[in-house]
């Protein structure tokens, strides 16, 4: 990577983030100037801000338009960063839309302000190629998320959820930071590419292997927390249950994807020479995460906790793709970018799918006042549209063709099979069956249960828009997978070099 001197035109590479900062300022001013009853428009303002940032991303930051190595090598605007940026901005927009009608948070300007700030942090997580910038962006998004998780001040559960998330998050991110300080010491630089070049291959060169492996472990702990991999998952169900549901949706998709973006960036640029070691660790984590996530999900009565454990299990499938990186390379015939491309594709489709599922849950729990699975009984007769959206989401999570989830799993398992990780593929397939069991139970309750109440569930316009966009996305990304797979593959290639 060549570091370029600063030119004003480089600011274009940050156009989406600049738009988000302006949007945050507008939200703050509107919050001060509006009366209490008109504040529900703030969510729409925030969503428009995210939409404008999406347009800016598509206009100014298409890979190839801007070269890498800008801002002293702090950021790299490649296809990988582009794909993740689009994903975060989209998740932010949908979260703002589904939070608009919330009785408490929908009227609070600071909620949308902090949400925007968190997305800015995540964008920089995908862009950063420097330890300082990386730590700064991780904390910028995490600190905002701690506050968001605890933002329902009238709820005991939300306060508890915010505290738990903060205590676990501050601890693990500091462990990660200790690893960063050691990396700086080994390489004498904070640029990821320079560190990668300095570390080189395991057992070759000046840096002894054992300290590097310790550093690798701190990275796995710090980011294992963000992606909620077993055994760093204890916070996830509690935080997901207690946090305001739009934030639960946001945490389960955007925060997890951001964790994966940084994990891919660090493992593939700093530790490529140690791939033989970390793929082993990742494979073990993948097996544990899938199995424990699915087994615990089967026992849940609360739909938010069920989706929390399901999202832990989904992280396991994604780790399976990451573990497939190394053997592919040694086989020589195919590159590791297949595996990484499958990971990026899966993250994209998982974001769309989980947003639909949480969108429906928020609507139903708002009128029933609880999150029990039994409340969904007979939803198909009350609101056929919502029931259909939930059906699409759950079948996609379960991996039924022709929905996006099927192709996502197919690519992941195919990559793992090419890497000769057959035992992991078998474990993944068994887990996919286990998961299908509890998704189908929810579908059964929705379609065959008796409704307790015949009234339709009220749905507002921003909501209909968000649910339509995501549901159609789930089907499109599956049926017309070609272009999306191409972007994911290009992103995977960018992570490697």
């Amino acid at each position: 990577m060549n570091i370029q001197p600063f030119e004003p035109s480089h600011l274009l590479a940050l156009a989406p983030e600049i738009v988000l900062v302006i949007s945050a300022a507008v939200i703050m001013l509107a919050d001060v100037n509006r009366g209490r009853e008109r504040k529900r428009e703030l969510g729409v303002v925030a969503a428009l801000g995210f939409g404008a940032a999406l347009v800016a991303a598509l206009l100014f930051t298409l890979p190839g338009l801007t070269a890498d190595g800008q801002f002293g090598g702090m950021i790299r605007n490649d296809t990988a960063a582009f794909a993740f940026r689009i994903l975060f901005l989209f998740a932010g927009m949908v979260t703002a839309l589904i939070a608009t009608d919330s009785p408490v948070i929908g009227k609070e300007g600071e909620f949308f302000l902090v949400l925007t700030g968190s997305v800015i942090g995540m964008n920089f997580m995908a862009l950063s190629t420097d330890l300082v910038m990386l730590y700064l962006s991780i904390e910028a998004s995490s600190i905002a998320l701690y506050a968001l998780a605890g933002s329902l001040r009238e709820s005991d559960k939300s306060a508890e959820s915010g505290l738990k998330y903060f205590l676990f998050g501050a601890f693990t991110s500091t462990v990660l930071l200790y690893g960063f300080s050691l990396l700086y010491g080994f390489a004498g630089s904070t640029n990821l590419y320079e560190i990668g070049a300095r570390l080189g291959e395991a057992g070759v060169g000046g840096v002894p292997t054992l300290p590097v492996i310790l550093t690798l472990l701190t990275v796995v702990v710090g980011l294992g927390f963000k992606i909620s991999a077993v055994p760093f998952h204890f916070w996830a169900p509690d935080v997901y249950e207690g946090a305001p549901t739009p934030i639960t949706a946001f945490l389960s998709v955007a925060s997890k994807a951001a964790g994966f973006a940084v994990l891919l960036r660090l493992l593939l640029t700093v530790f490529p020479g140690y791939a033989g070691i970390w793929t082993g660790i990742i494979a073990a984590l993948a097996l544990l995460t899938m199995t424990i996530g699915n087994l615990l999900a089967m026992q849940q009565r609360n739909i938010k906790r069920l989706l929390a454990y399901s999202s832990i299990a989904q992280a396991g499938y994604i780790l399976l793709g990451l573990a497939a990186y190394y053997n592919l390379n040694t086989d020589g015939n195919v590159g590791g970018e297949h595996a990484i491309g499958a990971v990026v594709y899966y993250l994209g489709m998982y974001t769309l799918t989980n947003l639909v599922a949480f969108g429906v849950i928020i609507l139903v729990s708002r009128i029933t006042g609880s999150d029990e699975i039994a409340d969904f009984s007979g939803l198909s007769r009350r609101s056929p549209g919502l029931a259909l959206a939930m059906l699409v989401a759950l079948l996609s999570l379960g991996g039924i063709p022709p929905l996006a989830g099927f192709f996502g799993k197919l690519y992941l398992f195919a990559a793992a099979a090419e890497a000769n990780l057959l035992w992991l593929v078998v474990a993944g397939a068994i887990n996919a069956l286990l998961a299908l069991y509890y998704y189908l139970i929810v579908i059964k309750v929705i379609y065959l249960g008796q409704p307790k109440d015949e009234a339709t569930v009220p749905v507002s316009r921003p909501y209909v828009f968000a649910l339509w966009v995501c549901s159609i996305g789930v089907i499109l990304v599956g049926v017309l997978a070609g272009p999306f797979v191409q972007i994911a593959q290009a992103a995977g290639t960018n992570f490697l070099r």
Partner: protein
């Protein structure tokens, strides 16, 4: 200049370990936060020591340490706010007592 780099690294590792022990053993949320602060200071010792002995050129290590201090302050501000929010509702900051949600 008679003190070698390894002493600083050992000090930092010890401080980090004390911090980890504090986080894992403390029942009080404020105590846990103090453990995290110790760990952050261990990181700062590492960064400044590496910068001083490594002759790495530009003062990246110093800048990194300053940024860590700033972020630690931001983190403590949000963390203490959350602890106060829990205390107002539950009249306790003992982590074991804050357990409404169990599976």
């Amino acid at each position: 200049m008679s003190i070698p780099l390894s002493w600083y690294l050992a000090l930092s590792a010890a401080l980090f370990s004390i911090g980890v022990f504090g986080v894992l053993s403390r029942r009080n949320a404020v105590g846990v936060l103090m453990g995290v602060e110790l760990m952050l200071n261990a990181v700062n010792i590492n960064l400044v020591a590496f910068w001083h002995y490594g002759a790495f050129g530009p003062s990246t290590g110093l800048a990194f340490a300053l940024i860590v201090i700033a972020i630690a302050a931001a983190e403590a501000a949000v963390g203490l706010a959350l602890i106060i929010s829990v205390y107002r509702r539950r009249k306790t900051v003992v982590v074991d007592d804050v357990n409404l949600m169990k599976f």
